[in-house]
Amino acid sequence: MKVEFMNPFISSAISVLESEVSATIKKGRLTLETGDFLSQEVTVLIGVTGKVEGHVFYGMKEKTAKKIVSAMMGEELLVFDEFAQSGISELGNVITGKAGIGLEAAGFPCNLSPPTLILREGTNISTLNISRILVPLLTQYGEIIVHVGLREADEDE
């Protein structure tokens, strides 16, 4: 997993969270993870194919997701219902789409799957031996952990 694949996602996440919900963001320590991915309370999963392939996950607590969608709406949402789920999925979609533009500019054009939302903590997802870099983003709404597990399409790890 090359760090250069990570950077477009971090800069995109910071830019989108700042513009969409006026987030103040402190970036936590990068860590490398291998093995299966374990979902958080709310996890947005997006698949990547093309010159780079793998997965991107955005994980957070439900109360964080609810606060973020409330900020996107400009009104407090009391329950994390289908509408709120659509909002947090779309946020992941927008962050990843913007990162995709960055990857293309770096010479790695790719296609992105529609977002999948996992609403259960501890669901085990195999990422086919692609190692992942994790970056926690600390915001006033709570912590969002960005997990990027990508490799060049013809690269064997």
Partner: protein, 118 residues
Amino acid sequence: MAKILIVDDAAFMRMRCSKLLKENGHDVIEAENGLMAIEKYKAEKPDMVFMDVTMPEMDGITAVSEIRKLDSNAKIAMLSAMGQQSMVMDAIKAGARDFVVKPFQPEKVLSTIKKLIG
């Protein structure tokens, strides 16, 4: 004021965009995929369309082509998170007249309406 069709599989995005357009005096119709968009276009004859790209049933680029077959003068702008160059080129080739990348700025959406339908 115009009649505008918003096509997006995300209910949240349809609501957000719809709210913006209604606040600016437009009539809004919604569809959640490309197939529904074609049916709504035939039935409602909107003045313009905002179309997402990645959707179930039928994607936005295919839907643009199909709508342009029905109405060669259809005024369609893409509204998508997928702003890679190849995606933009495919949309323009299919007949889209503009491409707004999410996260959208309200002013950009409103200026696109002005540009396409005056």
